[in-house]
């Protein structure tokens, strides 16, 4: 049984102007200890996906259909009490801005010990010992001192380490990291990513890494999803997707990377911007921006087609796959 199985997940935001679908028909699985990257532009639904996994969408968002099975339990229909015992305990989440995720008026120690005591029966002294151990694991210098400090006394990198330590506090099976390094500078980013990779490998923790940094995804994750306008458009092993992107959108993302450009030439960019979720075009939602757009792209949703170990939702791929099939038959 996979650790996490998301099936046909639809997330709706009921607005005054009508319901807006932020996620459409999202399905994927995650094995124990596997690291999955989720990439896409701002507004593609990456963060909504993270929140809907632990069923913590704030109003007016809600899961309108589909299921999220964590170890066989459907989180979308679990009682609030049971959900709380899974949140933080089995699944933890790390946010983008470490300045904001720590409570400014409580010391680090108080926040860490509180997390432990909320989920485990243990004495305060034991909780303090566990907290110290986790702070050591994230390589924080003089951890005893940090326990009595307030978040504002620490640097950004240090705070993100503490956030990670809090995420690991209860030895979860899954960590959802929502752009964990976006707010940090580049050298610290690399350190933090390294640290997360090591900790996940050591503790056999599954990771869902939500980011728009393709470099980070290629270093850290084993598989990746590419999202566009609330849908998964391509998924597969990270190396294959990065080296041989099939969907025109993924190709566009890769070509837009400065590393891919020839010196002296303009960077390639995908023309236009993502459609607002209220009026996503009929058929393939990428059709207004696609270089290879065909008639069928305006009419029907592209089905997932296998390409190597990847799955791609593009009519072009579907057609060439059919051609191949016909060739075989002939």
């Amino acid at each position: 049984m996979p650790l996490l199985e998301v099936n046909n997940l639809d997330v709706c935001f009921g607005l005054r102007s009508g319901a807006v679908k932020a996620l459409r028909d999202v399905s994927f699985t995650l094995e124990r200890g596997e690291r999955l990257g989720v990439v896409g532009e701002s507004g593609a639904g990456k963060s909504v996906l993270g929140f809907s996994i632990i069923n913590l969408l704030s109003r007016p968002g809600h899961i309108s259909s589909g299921s999220v099975h964590f170890e066989g339990k459907d989180l979308a229909s679990l009682a609030p009490g049971e959900l709380r015992s899974i949140r933080g305990n089995r699944i933890s989440m790390i946010f983008q801005d470490p300045m904001m995720t720590l409570n400014p008026v409580l010391t680090i120690g108080v926040q860490m010990i509180e997390c432990l005591l909320a989920h485990r029966r243990m004495s305060k002294a034991d909780a303090k010992r566990v907290a110290l151990k986790k702070l050591q694991q994230v390589q924080i210098p003089s951890p005893e001192k940090r326990l009595d400090q307030y978040p504002h006394e620490l640097s950004g990198g240090m705070r993100q380490r503490i956030v990670i330590a809090i995420g690991l506090l209860l030895d979860p099976d899954l960590i959802i990291a929502d752009e964990p390094t976006t707010a940090l500078d580049v050298t610290i980013q690399a350190e933090i990513m390294d640290l997360m990779l090591n900790l996940c490998e050591q503790n056999n923790v599954a990771l869902i890494l939500i980011t728009h940094d393709l470099g980070v995804v290629s270093q850290v994750t084993q598989r990746m999803l590419v999202m566009y306008a609330g849908r998964i458009i391509e998924q597969g092993p990270t190396k294959e997707v990065i080296n041989d992107a099939q969907h025109p959108y993924t190709q566009g993302l890769m070509n837009a990377l400065p590393q891919m450009a020839i010196p002296g030439q303009k960077l390639n960019q995908i023309k236009g911007s993502m459609p607002p979720l209220q009026d996503i075009p009929k058929g393939c939602s990428f059709n207004p921006r696609c270089e290879y757009v065909m008639d069928i792209c305006h009419q029907a949703l592209p089905p997932f087609t296998r390409s190597g170990n990847c799955q791609v939702a593009c009519h072009m791929m579907a057609e060439s796959a059919q051609d191949k099939l016909q060739l075989k038959e002939v």
Partner: protein
């Protein structure tokens, strides 16, 4: 816990050292008005709390009162007597002692009523702000309705009805409690509104999301995570509200609905002297009046200063 934290104390700042390095303390040291106000307030509090030890007479004890001593002017006037430094009132009570006891009563009522207001306001404001939606609308409409009755009007009706139904004797025994209840209940929307506004701002911050992700329950998030972040506005309105509560109590006592004459507060002292002011016995009204005005002024100045210091928009950190 203690044994573990002791060695740490040497390594990094204790709470006292932290306080000494804080913005709060620095701006206090730089502000003469705040220092003076604070000193006066502390003096008031100390004098009031130790009234039963330092007052030369016990104004509650009828055996120490001699009607023959009535309306003696303060000792610096010609007809004054040295044993009554601030003179006596119409019943022959020593004004100094009565004012000390009265200040105690006024402060007690002010503090307790504000504590009650804060309790109600914090619980209702937090609930409304955090839960939002219909609960929020419902609670805030109740607050609006409550606010549309002025404090004095509510107090006058409630206290008058109570006196009429249960008799003056019972009322005199319960006067203090009744005043605390009435002033406390009449003014909670001030707190509830302020706190709701801060909660609305706080609950959008990521640390609240993080707390929800950690699987904490609503109550824990509300009281342990959000409430401490809304403490500065609570502190600021508390000082102003204490001043307001003291004034409300004084007004009610002046109207004869407050503390009985046998256990006078500052307000009932002012009221009891009012009849004699034209017969020349000005001190019965004026001295407690000055004491009251200074107390309220000091509270308001402290509140003003605190609002400047605790306003995060005025400094970063």
């Amino acid at each position: 816990m203690m044994s573990e934290s002791t060695p740490n104390m040497q390594q990094h700042p204790t709470a006292l050292q932290r306080f000494k390095e804080s913005h709060f303390w620095h701006s206090f040291k730089a502000d003469r008005v705040a220092q003076l106000s604070f000193i006066i307030f502390v003096t008031y509090a100390v004098l009031a709390m130790s009234a039963s030890f330092i007052a030369p007479f016990d104004p509650y004890d009828a055996s120490q009162i001699d009607i023959m001593n009535s309306e003696i002017p303060p000792s610096w006037q010609d007809e004054g007597e040295a044993s009554f430094p601030l003179g006596t009132d119409a019943q022959g009570r020593d004004m100094l002692s009565t004012i000390l006891y009265g200040t105690r009563v006024s402060l007690m009522i002010g503090l307790c009523a504000v504590a009650l207001q804060a309790l109600l306001g914090i619980v209702i404001g937090l609930t409304a702000g955090y839960l939002g939606g219909r609960v929020d609308s419902f609670l805030m409409r109740i607050a609006d309705i409550q606010l549309s009755f002025s404090t004095l009007m509510v107090a006058i009706i409630v206290l008058a009805v109570f006196q009429a139904t249960f008799g003056t004797e019972l009322y005199q025994q319960l006067a203090m409690l009744m005043l605390i209840l009435v002033i406390g209940i009449a003014e909670w929307p001030q707190y509830a509104r302020t706190i709701r506004a801060s909660v609305l701002a706080e609950k959008k911050k990521e640390y609240v999301d993080a707390a929800r992700v950690m699987g904490f329950g609503r109550l824990r998030i509300m009281f342990r995570h959000i409430l401490p972040n809304t403490l500065s506005p609570i502190l600021v309105i508390s000082t102003v509200q204490i001043a307001n509560a003291i004034i409300s109590e004084a007004s009610l006592s002046f109207l004869g609905l407050g503390m009985p004459v046998s256990q006078p507060s500052l307000g009932s002292l002012i009221s009891s002297g009012f009849e004699y002011i034209f017969s020349g016995a000005w001190w019965i009204t004026v001295i407690p009046g000055v004491v009251l005005v200074v107390l309220v002024l000091v509270m308001n100045l402290l509140g003003d200063w605190m609002r400047d210091v605790l306003n995060p928009k005025l400094y970063k950190g």
